[in-house]
Amino acid sequence: MTDSGSSNNSRPGRKGAAGGKAGPLPPTPDAGPNPEAGPTPAAEPGSLFGPDSQFHRFFDDPRWALAVIRATVLEAAHPQVGAALIDNSTFVAHPWRRLRNTLVSLQRMFGPDDHVRQREAARLNRLHARISGADPRNRHYDAMDPEVRAWVVATLFESSVTMCRLSGQPLDQSTMEQLYAEFRAFLVALADEPGHLPPTLPEFWRYYDRMVEDELENTEALRIILYKLFDHLPAPPLLDGVPTVWAAGRALAGPLIGTITVASLPEPFRRRAGLPEVPGAQTLMQSAYAAAGLARFLPDNWIRTENLFDLLYLSPDSDDPRAAALTALRDRIKQAGALLRLATPLTSPFSQQQSVPEQTGPQRSAAEFFTEVLDQTADGYLDWPDLAAMARELSTRLDLDEPEETRLYAAYAEWWRELQAELDADGDGRISKDEYAAAVPSLAGPALIRVAEVLFDVTDADGNESIDADEYRALFRTAFSRTMTAAGPTYSRSAFITDFLSFMSGRRRSTPYDPLLADA
């Protein structure tokens, strides 16, 4: 899985964003400028993409969920990818947001519109260029390393093939070759020099086996994905209000997904990484793949990944027409949750169920704010990658181009320097929860105000010094709240900055900012 983000919002006043949801659209006749386009359409590299591609057959396949998890585990087992994920990725604290961004990005990359693809590739490259560092053993990692990116694409391809094999419907040779060509074209679209993925399928399998045998390790990221992520997976926004229902389902599904994924990994790697052999896991894994495969007989729109994700992501405060039905659904789920809790036999009178935190008061404690908002990578410390993740999420939402994206990152970097100077009491380069809690009151420094101003500038796409309804929607994915419309049809610079600062420093819960930065 490439670390990626993108937004669904087509924005007025920004060229090229109109085809944001390109996947299901038919190819447009003038698919944009294509520098190396030959006279015949078949010669275009674009012909490997679009709705007729093999990739699109998989995108809505429920088995693909299992395959993507498996691919992510194999990715994370690569020492460089693993280190990059641990340091920079938000997948532990915000897995749903991360997954959604990845899916939207893949859809753009494999969509029919070349222009959208080029723009998305440029965005991914900018994003990856910001991710580099060193792992605890001081080995360098870099998300732009073409070998690393080739491996990420290789795991996606291999997991798609394996998914078909494991569910008893192996791909025939020519389909497999076409799929491979599509994934290679994906790398080419990212403008990596070719050669890191072997040109032919037989060579690919040799490359893959060698990587599995020699390169992969039992990395920390791998252990987190296998044994921690699914046991602590936060609820998607839809189910956020019903922690008990979510926890009950997760307690059952979490270990199961872990076991199934381990059983589907290549045997040599399992042996070398010391992953457990659970009796019956192979059968369980194959049944799971087969069962997920049966879902293809369901009506088409039931299993459209896109629809599913939109639904999981809908929050009841949104003005989406489905939100009313959703609020009703959520109420039913809450009722079911209440009944479930009441009907659960008591073990001891007053010992259990005390850990469920209630989201009540308008004010968060410093510790809550640290965990829910600031510590985006969920490693217990506030560090540059946490703030970079916020900048990444905001640029993704707003679908920023250069130079706005760099301005936003620069403002966040400035804020980070300010935070570090003020809060890092023990001088270890990062800020612990205690250091943060001790210093909270002095938090709205000039650099944070600068962040608010830059965020206003980049959100105000048409530069008329106020945020109108469309611009607001691009940032928050919802319409103006009622209290705001009372003040007028637009959002002024000073009101925007005041609200942002009261969210970031006053730690006041705020309806629009919470889904933006605190949702899983």
Binding site: G337, A338, L339, L342, P349
Partner: protein, 290 residues
């Protein structure tokens, strides 16, 4: 599960009442001993008396559990345990009789002064009862509410169960059951006053209706009939605002012995009362003159 704020309410009281426990003496209500049939075949309430129907809102002060236990030389706690059956019986009877609002006084703000063992026992008992009967209440279409429940001494799991039961039954439109738990009538009024002041209403604009809108559960109608068991005749800080125009009955039966028949007998007594609300014309539904 009964508000006995004064320490002198002890077993002696109950013993003195002796035979008052048995069925059939319910109609010996305070100050009035109307002609009524002996308990028994009472089920469908005939619309007799001075043209009065079933009270819309009935409230019960569940008094006498301790005395009931003492009469049997049992610990006080067993009186509370025995009260569970009565509670379920009364809920069923009220629903069947067409009462729309039923309020039960389960635990007063003054009850915290009881020995901590008894309080702990009550908390456990209430939690068990709530969880045991939640599916039944839900299935019967009863909307459950808990009035009060503000004290931090209430164990969080119990408060959670209260909230769950309210969530579960919130959409029900059958009878509304309000359980007053950690309730004090004066506290509610003080809270309403605070809320009113905070809302910034000018003093002259405040009338009874405005004030009532700041009480907890402002949709609750005035109480029409209060039943206080065990013969005690006190208000004990119970829903002070809402009982302003209520009729009161004081059946001598102790709460654990109180049954559907007694309840229906109380409704009959109510129907034979002539409610005037201080005026001449009886007012339907117990709405005060506003």
């Amino acid at each position: 599960m009964c508000p006995e704020p004064r320490p002198r309410d002890t077993a002696v009281h109950g013993l003195a009442e002796g035979g008052g426990v048995s069925v059939g003496h319910v109609r010996a209500t305070a100050g009035r001993a109307d002609e009524g049939e002996p308990g028994g075949r009472l089920s469908p309430l005939p619309q007799q008396g001075p043209g009065r129907g079933v009270p819309r809102h009935v409230a019960c002060v569940m008094d006498g559990n301790g005395r009931w236990a003492a009469q049997r030389s049992l610990p006080r706690t067993s009186g509370h345990t025995a009260a569970e059956k009565t509670v379920i019986d009364v809920i069923e009877a009220a629903r069947a009789a067409g009462v729309e609002w039923l309020s039960l006084y389960a635990f007063s703000t003054e009850n915290w002064r009881r020995p901590s063992d008894e309080v702990d026992f009550l908390m456990r008992l209430v939690r068990r009862v709530v969880r045991k009967h939640a599916p039944l209440l839900f299935a019967r279409g009863i909307r459950c509410r808990f009035l009060g429940v503000a004290d931090p001494r209430i164990p969080p799991p119990l408060a959670r169960d209260f909230a769950d039961l309210m969530t579960l039954t919130g959409q029900n439109r059958g009878m509304t059951l309000t359980v007053a738990f950690d309730h004090g009538g004066r506290r509610d009024i003080v809270e309403a006053a605070r809320s009113l002041i905070r809302s910034g209403v000018p003093a002259d604009a405040v009338d009874e209706r405005h004030f009532a809108a700041h009480l907890p559960f402002p949709d609750t109608p005035d109480v029409d009939l209060v039943i206080r068991t065990s013969g005690e005749q006190r208000i004990s800080n119970f829903m002070l605002w809402q009982v302003a125009y209520a009729e009161w009955t004081f059946p001598p039966v102790l709460w654990p012995d109180f049954r559907a028949t007694h309840f229906l007998e109380c409704l009959r007594t109510y129907q034979q009362r002539d409610r005037r609300f201080g005026g001449v014309t009886p007012h339907a539904n117990g709405e005060p003159h506003l």
